[in-house]
């Protein structure tokens, strides 16, 4: 496995509809990630059923080992056509990304996938297939880290019709906007949120159609290692620190005592910042060779709060933007939820004397619980998580 495929998607339903007529399936297997976006004809319950049937059909066939082209052909042949409107009951896009970087894409009646390579739009060569009177476009290409693939439903292209834009946002403008917002460190979630936010605003909060955005960001593998708390056995300090430092990827130290141990073992000075960016979060410090040094429990608690909001399906643009701030918790959140592809926790089980005060509600179990909860949150974001206790 040489790349990580970060996928995020979100939808807004047509105004006053309970169910979304667009459906997204993300399937991860040993050698690839498959993303399916279907758009059911019409809106509401009927469209939802049609979209779900189509996506489930595709998803099931693929997960049972069928190849993507076999699946597409099978679905196309069985896809019913509306007698009144003369169009299929569902449109779809199926994208398979191998961990080697090879990609294959099939599109039927959905707006074209927007492909950006290092922020620049890349046109894809399409091969047209005519199956049972329906035109399917097939594209094969290779992606690299920092490349983006954006799948959108028709609702995004039509956003703004009848309001601020006479003929809707249009695919060309969606593409231009995606190019404008691209930065190397922007996450898939951020892009999805931004595009959907624009669509919702263009519709003036009353979408005229179900609108879905799926963002696939190709990332290099990045492990983030977090050392939190001193080991229960002091004699293990040296070996734990050495193990921690020998791990590849970024290194984070949480906690004052932990920082002192790392500083002692490495011989590097701790330089404390006096800048309280957020009064509720203690300032960070610097140790040479460590990417981020924060305070312990308070910072981790806040980080968990930010991470949960970030991962929530009901998150807002503000929840995404909040982690761009400069305080310790925001920086830690950004490293864990956006930058990492895997996280390795080194959890020290020593009891903090300050935490044993019965007047204080804190305890060792709180720290462990925080780490567990954080791990679960990260797993929900498709990160690989390892926890080691000392």
């Amino acid at each position: 496995m040489s790349i990580f495929v970060d996928v995020d998607y979100s939808s807004v339903n047509k105004y006053k509809e309970e169910l979304c007529g667009d459906k997204v399936e993300v399937l991860r297997n040993q050698d690839s990630v498959i993303v399916v976006l279907t758009d059911g004809l019409g809106s509401g319950v009927k469209a939802n059923i049609l979209a779900t049937l189509t996506s489930k059909m595709i998803g099931t066939m693929l997960s049972l080992g069928a190849s993507i082209d076999e699946t597409v052909e099978a679905v196309i042949n069985t896809l019913p056509v509306s007698k009144e409107r003369g169009i299929a009951y569902s449109s779809f896009s199926v994208l398979q990304i191998y961990y080697s970087g090879e990609c294959i894409l099939f599109e039927f009646d959905n707006p074209s996938v927007i492909r950006l390579a290092k922020g620049n739009f890349m046109d894809m060569k399409k091969k047209c297939h005519n199956i049972n009177g329906k035109t399917i476009n097939e594209s094969k290409f290779k992606v690299s880290p920092d490349d983006l693939l954006i799948l959108i439903s028709d609702g995004a292209v039509r956003a703004g019709i009848g309001n601020s834009l006479d003929i809707g946002w249009q695919w060309e403008n969606v593409k231009k906007y995606a190019c404008k917002i691209y930065r190397k460190d922007i996450s898939a979630k951020n892009i999805t949120k931004l595009l959907l936010s624009v669509c919702d605003n263009l519709y003036e909060k009353k979408p005229g159609d179900d609108t879905t955005v799926v963002t696939v960001k190709i990332k290099s593998l990045l492990q983030v290692n977090v050392m939190i708390g001193p080991p229960a056995d002091r004699s293990l300090d040296s070996s734990v620190v050495n193990r921690f430092l020998s791990e590849k990827g970024k290194k984070i130290v949480c906690g004052g005592t932990t920082a002192q141990i790392v500083s002692r073992e490495t011989g590097k000075e701790i330089i404390t910042s006096i800048n309280y960016i957020d009064h509720s979060i203690p300032p960070t410090a610097k140790i040479e060779g460590i990417d981020l040094t924060t305070e312990g429990i308070l910072t981790m608690g806040k980080t968990l709060e930010y991470a949960r909001r970030y991962a929530s399906s009901e998150n807002t643009v503000e929840d995404i933007l909040n982690i761009e701030k400069e305080d310790g918790a925001s920086k830690l959140t950004k490293l864990l939820v956006e930058e990492s592809t895997s996280v390795h926790f080194f959890v020290g089980c020593a009891k903090n004397p300050a935490h044993q005060n019965p007047d204080l509600p804190l305890s060792l179990s709180l720290k462990l619980q925080l780490v567990e909860d954080m791990a679960n949150c990260l797993k929900s974001l498709d990160k690989e998580v390892i926890i080691e206790y000392y």
């Binding site: 834009l165 949120k193 595009l195 624009v198 605003n201 006096i274």
Partner: protein, 520 residues
């Protein structure tokens, strides 16, 4: 309470042929006398220049008046200007002071020429043509001169009345039975054959607009003045009614003629009421779709309401006045501090705006004086830079935020908004943002230890213990503020003074200075 001058223009209503003749003659005589004085002064301009500066080096009309001696005053009688000789002196002195001031500033200014007779203009015209044939002047220069000649030839200067008086110069009268107003203007000397015994029909009651509201009586004898009926709109009438209660607000006037119609422009001194306390802010910005957009926000920046105002394609001065009046009403009703763009050196980047800079700046000037009269604070002008590409939601300013010249689409938070609305909303929140923006104090490492620095205010402080120095920090800031005010004269000459001053004010105005500083 400060004062401001307001000019109201009243039309002379259907003057008879004889009254027209009298007015024409008076203005012609006035103009000839004025030109006579100018011609005399041009021969002694250097001497006048020397003697007419006050202690501050400014040209004073009062000092120029001293040049007009008794002999000159006697000579002016040949122009039959006795009824308005005083006014003539003052008008001349002001004009000359203006000319000398411009020259002193290095601004290109031709020596004033107020009147040229038709004979003289013909002579001048011949001279210019000769210059053209002899190639002693460029075509554009001569064309310009000829145009000026045409504009001035035979056209009189407006006649100035320097004081409001029942027995000289000019005053106003009111007929309560017909609800009509009249102007009494002294235009004739005792030798003028056109003087009449009767100026009004019998039984008509006229009251002087004066403190004593004396009733006009026609005594025997021929009158040196005319009684001229006036016509005007409701706006002017409101001022005349104010004058009834306070006649001393009427100061000076000018009699002018335009395209065969006569006008009396009256200058009135308005006392401004002290401003009422504002509760909200109103941003008034230019627009693309409409002339102006306005947004009203509360002191926290929450949008209360917004709107727009349209203007005819002509964009005449009177249209802009109407626009200003509407904005004043909205501002009054909502107790707003008006905030407008400062479009002088730096623009707002708006493409295809409805109002150009000139129209918008004109609107500002009109709102400025109207706000004083209506007990509102003067409008505040702020830089328009980035107004239309700043997202009102997240505050990020970037050219990439412009989707089109009508739609803002933020590339940071996805907000979309009509550009006109975004502009006025950003404008309304400018002062709030300014007050919230913290003063940055940078921490730098130095051989002495951690140092706190801000170059804009000249602050540099190296504490003994940077982790516990809040009191000492406060003292250092207080010392800085005191030193600033003690040396303010010297400070005002340095570049960046205004920026430093505004930061010092901000530090001063906050009890807890840590609320307005940000340590980085």
């Amino acid at each position: 309470m400060s004062k401001t001058m307001r000019t109201i223009v009243l039309k002379i209503y259907k003057p008879s042929k004889i009254k027209r003749t009298i007015m024409d003659e008076a203005m012609l005589n006035y103009s000839k006398a004025f030109q006579y004085m100018l011609d005399k002064a041009s021969n002694q301009i250097d001497a006048i220049n020397e003697s007419s500066r006050d202690k501050m080096g400014r040209y004073s009309a009062n000092l120029i008046l001293r040049w007009i001696d008794k002999d000159m005053m006697k000579e002016l009688n040949k122009f039959s200007v006795e009824p308005f000789k005083d006014s003539l002196r003052i008008d001349f002195a002001s004009a000359l002071a203006g000319y000398l001031s411009l020259k002193a500033k290095g601004i290109k200014a031709n020596y004033p020429q107020t009147f040229i007779s038709e004979d003289e203009s013909e002579e001048e015209y011949d001279k210019l043509l000769k210059n053209l044939t002899e190639n002693t002047g460029s075509l554009s220069y001569i064309e310009n001169k000829i145009n000026k000649l045409i504009n001035k030839s035979g056209k009189p200067r407006s006649l100035y009345f320097c004081r409001y008086s029942k027995i000289r110069n000019f005053c106003l009268l009111y007929n309560p039975d017909e609800d009509k107003y009249y102007a009494k203007v002294y235009l004739m000397n005792v030798k003028n054959e056109k003087r009449r015994e009767r100026n009004i029909s019998e039984g008509k009651k006229l009251i002087y607009i004066s403190d004593d509201q004396e009733i006009y009586k026609e005594n025997s004898g021929r009158k040196r003045y005319l009684l001229l009926p006036l016509s005007f709109g409701r706006w002017q009438e409101a001022y005349l009614k104010k004058a009834f209660g306070k006649p001393d607000m009427i100061k000076t006037a000018r009699l002018t003629k335009k395209k065969d119609r006569y006008f009396l422009s009256i200058n009135m001194e308005m006392s401004e009421c002290s401003s009422t306390e504002y509760e909200n802010y109103m941003g008034v910005s230019r627009g693309v779709r409409n002339a102006v957009n306005y947004s009203v926000v509360d002191k926290e920046g929450k949008l209360l309401f917004e709107g727009y105002l349209e203007l005819s394609d002509q964009k005449s001065k009177s249209d802009i006045h109407k626009l200003a009046n509407k904005l004043i009403i909205i501002s009054q009703e909502n107790k707003c501090q008006i905030i407008m763009e400062k479009l002088i050196r730096v623009g707002d980047g708006l493409k295809e705006p409805y109002l150009n800079y000139k129209n918008y700046n004109e609107l500002y000037k009109i709102i400025k004086y109207k706000s004083k009269e209506n007990a509102l604070s003067e409008p505040i002008r702020v830089s328009g830079f980035g107004l239309f590409n700043t997202c009102p939601r997240c505050g990020i300013s970037s050219k990439t935020n412009c989707f089109s010249n009508r739609l803002l689409m933020c590339t940071h938070c996805g907000m979309t908004m009509d550009i006109d609305s975004a502009g006025s909303l950003n404008l309304a929140r400018k002062l709030i943002k300014y007050n919230k923006d913290a003063i940055k104090i940078i921490t730098v490492s130095s051989p002495e230890g951690i140092k706190f620095v801000n170059d804009d205010i000249g602050f540099e402080y190296c504490p003994g213990n940077p982790y516990d120095c809040a009191e000492e920090f406060r003292e250092k800031i207080s010392t800085l503020i005191k030193s600033f005010y003690d040396n303010i004269e010297m400070e005002s000459k340095k570049s960046g003074f205004m920026k430093k001053y505004s930061m010092i004010k901000k530090l001063e105005d906050h009890e807890d200075l840590f609320e307005v500083i940000k340590i980085e």
